[in-house]
């Protein structure tokens, strides 16, 4: 059970949050991509052994959707890696 920093409320227990998945590619214009590209957008998510950017919803808190970088090996919340966008 992690301690997640909500920009509005500060550090809160993970139990107050709902996981919202990794931050993937931006949604492409459906008409501008091939079938294969569309399928990849939908089904392939970043799955790194290391820092991943992800969304969490402070559902049992202030309702904010927030983004954190979390190391999947340790669950430490980390700074965005240098090559991150």
């Amino acid at each position: 059970m992690m301690l997640i920093h909500c920009p509005f409320c500060g550090k809160r227990s993970e139990s107050e949050f709902i996981y919202g998945g990794p931050v993937g590619a931006d949604r492409p214009n459906p008409d501008a991509v091939s079938d294969a590209q569309w399928v990849e957008y939908l089904t392939v998510t970043p799955n790194p052994l290391g820092p991943v950017q992800e969304k969490w919803w402070h559902a049992r808190g202030c309702g904010e959707w927030l983004t954190i970088w979390r190391d999947t090996r340790t669950h430490d919340i980390v700074e965005a890696p240098e090559n991150a966008q």
Binding site: M1, V39, V44, T45, N47, L49, E54
Partner: protein
């Protein structure tokens, strides 16, 4: 292969057990094989075994970065069953269950396969409807599932004293899956390893694959390991949670994400529960091991993870669910807990498939993959040897994603 039985045991006892052969060899690593299997877990070892046994492909190396049988096969809850919902899944698991039942004899290694029946404790009407749906389709494929009354359920599981009429979720009935069983996970890994080794397969532990090598034509050439380059025209990735980590070294993206699933055991106590108890509405299941421990599993943690640890709140959900139905377990003690990481596909069904990289095969997305080890190994070996999917696994290839034809199979405690 040295035969194991009561007589060989007695004979060896007289010589102080000094003359047992090694269960598997430790041969030198060659620089080329016909097939390299990455991952000496359940699926990797069984795939190698069936490649040799069924398809005569024996120039096979199974590489593992750690110790054989040390991945998810070492950290699961042992349940073997075939109570699935869809035509795509049921026959595959029916086959796997049947293979497991013959495995002790086939591999001359006691898996301690205990076909002790799974009983679902049903607490909501929608769940009962869903399980009855399964029942009627499973029957087509010869898999057993029978509804029983609450009285019969409590007769079979005397420890189930919670869930009375006034409970938040009262028990309303049960389903009995007599095909289900448990066995000894280490024995499965070791039995397959010993069997594969006897057929000529080489198992190389402490051999970490760093990257997958492709030729100028894009096809597989082999793998780069901490012990040097190993060449092969066919490479099978059977590494559970690390699938994408490896396939990305070959530039291949897969619809998988890695999650943590935890389990825990109680202190060992005298026999109390004879069946596998599954409580889908409450979200936990358990069985009592031959050693007497209650082996308990619950829901997965949300979020991607390679940490192999337990989330306290998820763990408490499982414990409190269990105590609600089994209040006497309040006095039972937690003895050990652990986590494993596994990858889950976008539609939560397994992937056994060729890939866009010629010669590269994956078996991944196993979510409860322990029960699938025999059939998974057999059908993947078929694919690797013949380049054609085995009919039992044809629905589980990557091809299904081309038109988003998901196989949405909700398991006993999870759904997409």
């Amino acid at each position: 292969m040295q035969t194991y039985n009561i007589f060989s045991l007695a004979r060896n006892a007289l010589t102080g057990h000094q003359n047992w052969q090694k269960a598997w060899r430790s041969p030198p690593l060659k620089d080329q094989y016909d097939v390299v299997v990455i991952g000496a877990g359940g699926h990797g070892l069984s795939t190698a075994y069936y490649l040799a046994k069924e398809f005569g492909i024996t120039n096979v190396a199974v590489l593992d970065r750690g110790w054989l049988g040390g991945g998810n096969i070492a950290r699961n809850t042992l349940t073997i069953r075939s109570n699935y919902m869809r035509d795509e899944s049921i026959p595959f698991y029916v086959k796997s269950v049947a293979m497991y039942e013959g495995l002790t004899k086939e591999l001359n290694f006691n898996m301690m396969h205990s076909k002790r029946t799974m009983v679902d404790v049903v607490q909501t009407y929608p769940k009962m409807r869903e399980l009855r749906r399964r029942q009627l389709t499973m029957d087509i494929y010869g898999s057993t599932y029978e509804q029983i009354s609450t009285e019969e359920l409590r007769r079979r599981i005397p420890a189930l004293t919670g869930g009375g009429p006034d409970a938040r979720l009262p028990v309303i009935g049960g389903m009995v899956h007599t095909d289900a069983g448990v066995n000894r996970h280490d024995a499965v890994a070791w039995g397959y390893a010993r069997g594969a080794d006897a057929l000529g397969v080489e198992i190389h532990q402490q051999t970490a694959v760093k990257s997958i090598l492709r030729g100028t034509d894009g096809a597989i050439q082999g793998v780069e390991t901490n012990r040097g380059t190993v060449r092969a025209k066919k490479v099978v990735v059977a590494v559970s949670g690390h699938t994408t980590t490896l396939t990305e070294t070959a530039g291949l993206k897969l619809p998988l994400r890695t999650m943590n699933l935890t389990a825990f055991v109680s202190e060992p106590v005298k026999p109390l529960v004879d069946v596998i108890v599954n409580c889908p509405d409450s979200g936990f299941y358990f069985s009592q091991s031959d050693k007497g421990e209650m082996v308990i599993g619950g829901a997965p943690d949300m979020g991607q993870s390679f940490r192999r640890d337990i989330k306290q709140h998820v763990f408490e959900d499982t414990v409190t669910a269990m105590l609600s139905l089994f209040p006497a377990f309040k006095k039972l003690k937690l003895m050990r807990q652990w986590g494993g990481h596994l990858d889950i596909a976008h539609d939560a069904s397994p992937i056994m498939s060729k890939t866009d990289v010629g010669g590269l095969f994956v078996t991944a997305g196993w979510w409860g993959g322990y029960k699938a080890i025999p059939a998974g190994g057999l059908t993947l070996a078929h694919l690797v040897a013949k380049d054609q999917p085995h009919p039992l696994m044809a629905s589980f290839t990557l091809g299904r994603f081309k038109h988003l034809d998901f196989v949405l199979e909700s398991g006993t405690t999870t759904a997409r």
